[in-house]
Amino acid sequence: MPDFLTAYLQSNVTPGEAGSAFWALIYVLIVFAGISVAVMAMNWLERKALAHFQIRLGPMRVGPHGLLQPIADAIKLLTKEDIVPSAADKFVFWLAPLIILCASFTTYIVVPFGRAHAITDLNIGILFMLGVSSLSVLGVVMAGWASNSHYPLLGALRSSAQMVSYEIAMGLAVVSAVLMTSLNPSGTGTLSMIGIVQAQEAQQTWFVFKFFPLGFIALGVFAIAMVAETNRAPFDLPEAESELTAGFHTEYSGLRWSLFMLGEYAAMIAVSSIAVTLWLGGWLRPFPHWLAGQSWDLVFSLFPGLLFLGLAAIAFVGVGRMPKHPYFKIQTAGLAGFGAVLGLIGVVLFIPPVRDRVQDIFWFIAKVAVFMYLYIWYRATFPRYRFDQLMKVGWKVLLPVALGVLLLTAVAGILF
């Protein structure tokens, strides 16, 4: 069906807007599979990066430089015995991880990886994302309650209290960004994710730099709140190992536990993409106006290919540094193969039609990756907040700051 393909390639709207159920389905599959793979990659990266923060090597055994570790982990988790505590409420125990997983994956329906690269564009996009991601609280509470044990229950109460209270600061920060979208002649803003990015394009600035430092502070509030929202260090109280063993998922193991992890990492990527969409210009490349023009477009469009070539080069350097022992033959070959695949992808990304098509996706993912790296960095750097301190930060610091930023943004919007 070549016309089908060409029609797709020429369309510049999302499949949802075009009303094409077929392409929407394809996109859903691609996005969900992509997120799952991204979670696995993130898992590997986190272990590696954290290890290097801590002068360790991290996984090195499974595959060259532990590259196959996520797969090994997945196999281990899938084949583990599925333990359900005898006193647990079986149905709720079964349902809880699914709710968390669904809540975090459903948000990707509106994440705009590019102008045409989103499953659909809802006109309440950001509201939808916040709403659906807030549903994961239910999963947490249910998991804690269904386990019928003290530590999970305490962990669940803690984490739901935390998630609910940080949602407020998060929402207010989001509102101030949404307010900025209305700064156009017609005076109408938008809640649509794609619309927000287009507003930044039209206003020729990312919202993080809008009304400096207001946009920046709003992003800061959001960036802190989103760490708390996803229960990550330094706000990882619900999972405070030294206090509550593992929080709400203490009683979970094997596949169900891995669903929690999958949901958690997917939620991390989801909130990061909210931050990127709202403040960092979504899929827009850096300096679209300052460095405008055909030649700059060309230069920036080379980045994805160059990145993959660079990764391939790193892989080949790794091949060179592999111990020259027959024992490492397969590993070396594997790493070389991996490098070759990366290089091939890099070369493919230089082909002009592909280049134009994937550019926006690349920039979006690159910006999200920065936030994902920040998550790891926080985890390596910060001790854990105490519960009352966490609440204090949420209610007494972030909430007033977010409110103030919102007010000032409104005032600035009227004045300028």
């Binding site: 709720v92 309440i124 549903l135 609280v137 509470v141 249910m142 229950l153 739901s160």
Partner: protein
Amino acid sequence: MQPVATTFFFYLLAGLAVLGGVLVITRRNAVHSALALILTLLSLAGLYLMLYAPFVAGVQIILYAGGIMVLFLFVIMLVSIEKSQKEEQFNKLWLVGLLAAIALGGLFIGVYVKGKALFPEAKVVLEEGNNTQGIADYLYGHYLFTFEIASLLLLVAIIGAVVMAKKRI
């Protein structure tokens, strides 16, 4: 965006909503009731989308399913449910209540069937794209006073809830 397969989705969501409603009032375990209520709320959110009310649907998910129901689950966990599960679930007048409610339902249906002709056939065109904006215009224009009263209500509710629930003030 035209909704696809309206009929199918209506019956699916309506079925889920009613199923959830039935489960809410019949479950022994209050947590299960709450989960059933969440099912109802989410399918109603879907129905709101079909009624060209995306903003209300979003508010429904964020506030009801994500906020109020969490509060419910919290309270159910705080009050012991093991004891109340073993007790009689329905009160002594359940038969009267059931009959009265069914009579009320019959009344509704009767009124609908009789008064169907009163509904205007032509639907007002609700622009989906401007839905949020339209609601905002009403909220901050026509209904401004009501809006302020609602905020006052929430404030009173916050204070009231704190006063009620706190052990020592």
